[in-house]
């Protein structure tokens, strides 16, 4: 990767949406919106609601399916010199495995991020992120189905993130990313109705950043595989925090909606920090928080 700063799944579409505004070649990687075996329409509207320091979303992972994605978006993405990480999800372990198997030989796909933790999918997907046995089965299944780099994305709403981080490593994951959105809810007090059609959703944005830093710190402390820090990054300092607590890469999420070029600005900010402190690589920062 040219930079440790990627764009997070679900916040950057499949790439073309931002290509006019952001030089995609300057991103560390593009993590595309979650792909399932078959096309999915997603949730009813309203799908998002802005709250203090954050955004709650319940989009419901609409996607064109593996074949639709490969046909509609991979030719576009192959034109760029940027790693493509496909976020994958399924309703059953078998679906995860099948999606992973199908991507194994798709030219231009560099890694799979295993979405076990989107809170907006019923029929079980949220369980994959919070039930340790289910989590192991999914990661193990995906690992066995692909030669690609496998990165499970951990849910924040577990009692001990370290257990899930270790389980991912034990199952053969090449890295882990965290956190996914934080389960949340908002009510319109005038109508007494939930502000999302799905009732609950996942909170993202600056409001979850400190929660994510703590979880990344805990997870990074117990594994030897690389950790991707995600959650509420809006500026370089936020990314530096993740690096210092042990992440070796980061992904910018919701901030791209507001400032499409956030990931590039974070990259520049990290480079300036390294310069200012006489450091030659990001690696020299990883895990250097002083306790």
């Amino acid at each position: 990767m040219k930079t440790p700063v990627m764009v997070a799944s679900g916040t950057f579409g499949y790439g073309p949406e931002y290509a006019e505004l952001v030089d995609l070649n300057k991103l560390g990687a593009i993590v595309v919106k979650g792909i399932a075996l078959h096309p999915t329409k997603g949730n009813e509207t309203p799908r998002t609601v802005e709250v203090a320091s954050g955004l709650i979303n319940a989009i419901g992972l609409p996607n064109p399916g593996v074949d639709g994605f490969v046909e509609q978006y991979m030719p576009f993405l192959r034109q760029y010199d940027v790693p493509v990480i496909v976020n994958i999800w399924g309703k059953t372990v078998e679906e995860y495995v099948e999606v992973a198997r199908r991507f194994d030989h798709v030219d231009g796909v560099h890694a799979l991020e295993v979405n076990v933790s989107c809170p907006n999918i019923k029929e079980g997907s949220a369980l994959f992120g919070t039930d340790l046995d289910m989590f192991r089965r999914v990661v193990d299944g995906v690992r066995g189905a692909t030669q690609l780099t496998v990165i499970p994305k951990l849910a924040p709403n577990v009692s001990d993130i370290k257990v899930f981080a270790r389980a991912a490593e034990d199952a053969g994951a090449d890295g882990i990313s965290l956190i996914n959105s934080v389960p949340a809810m908002a009510v319109d007090v005038k109508t007494r109705k939930p502000r999302l059609a799905n009732v609950t959703g996942g909170l993202t944005g600056p409001g979850i950043h400190s929660v994510a830093v703590r979880l990344v710190w805990e997870a990074a402390g117990v594994v030897n595989i690389p950790v991707v820090g995600i959650g509420g990054i809006t500026k370089a300092e936020d990314a530096l925090e993740f690096l210092m607590v042990g992440a070796s890469a980061v992904a910018v999420g919701t901030a791209s909606f507001t400032h499409p070029a956030t990931a590039l600005e974070v990259t520049d900010g990290i480079a300036e920090y390294l310069d200012r402190h006489g450091l030659s690589s990001v690696g020299e920062l990883v895990g250097t928080v002083l306790l």
């Binding site: 579409g13 998002t48 955004l55 791209s256 909606f257």
Partner: protein, 266 residues
């Protein structure tokens, strides 16, 4: 489409809380087509994350104008913008209104600041027809002189009767339609306003064989098609429905595309 840091040239109140904001946006303004919008990052509003979408009222050279009303926390914050202040703008966004089909007679239908969103179209159309403007009260009727200066006949209604006919604008449209020669040219309608008004126009369009382009107003997130917040249900070729993004495939749709029955249910 580009992301540009633009400068506030001027801002003043037009009437009844409606405000006009002039922005020096040399990268965006010259490229705006009728019905397109810009996505504004409201400065000094750190607790809010997202940009706010605004239709472009006028675009002349490097300057574009937005007509808005301070009703939410974003727009209320915007009322404090002063000349020289800078803000970030993404645009132009959305598909905009198509031109007039040959042999059709144009009508415009607008409610509130929907009138502003139709100005560039009114200026661009080769034929001037009738503009129907509706509002709650006289202070909600905007830009009438501007449309008349372009050659449009403006017909007005207000719910409280303080300007034009008392009632909602569909009553005025129906009276106009009834009085019209049966063999006059077929109508092409362009509408912008509250969703109930758009649906009322759509029903008439389908009954009377008008073509009708409506600009839908949806909560919007990214504005560029990535977040999938602003979707609405449109009829698909296979006979079912599909989500379309109002920021990308819209905000203007031909009224027959929209699954109104599902919108109402939702």
């Amino acid at each position: 489409m580009q992301c540009e840091t633009v400068k506030v040239v001027h801002q003043d109140e037009v009437q009844g809380g409606y405000r006009l904001l002039w922005l020096d946006a040399p990268g965006i303004a010259p490229h705006v087509r009728p019905g397109q919008f810009v996505h504004v990052l409201v400065p000094h509003m750190e607790e809010a994350l997202l940009r706010r979408p605004f239709s472009v009222y006028k675009a002349d050279g490097p300057v574009l104008q937005i007509l808005y009303k301070g009703v939410g926390k974003g727009t209320r914050t915007m009322t404090y913008l002063r000349p020289g202040d800078q803000l970030s703008l993404i645009g132009p966004l959305g598909n905009g209104y198509p031109g007039l089909s040959t042999g059709r007679y144009p009508i415009l239908v607008a409610g509130g600041y929907g009138m502003a969103a139709l100005y560039l179209l009114a200026r661009a159309l080769p034929v001037q027809g009738v503009a129907f403007f509706g509002g709650q009260s006289a202070s909600d009727i905007l830009c009438v002189d501007e449309f008349e200066a372009l050659g449009w006949e403006v017909r007005i209604s207000t719910e409280d009767g303080t300007r034009g006919e008392r009632g909602i604008i569909t009553g005025v449209i129906d009276a106009w339609w009834t009085a019209r020669d049966a063999d006059a040219e077929p109508v092409e309608a362009y509408a912008c306003g509250p969703n109930g008004m758009l649906h009322a126009v759509a029903r008439r369009a389908m009954e009377r064989d008008w073509r009708a382009w409506v600009s839908v107003d949806r909560n919007m997130g990214c504005g560029v098609g990535a977040c999938l917040t602003c979707v609405l249900k449109v009829r698909s070729e296979e006979g079912g429905w599909a989500w379309k993004r109002s920021c990308k495939e819209g905000p203007v749709f031909e009224c027959r595309e929209i699954c109104w029955e599902m919108e109402e249910a939702g």
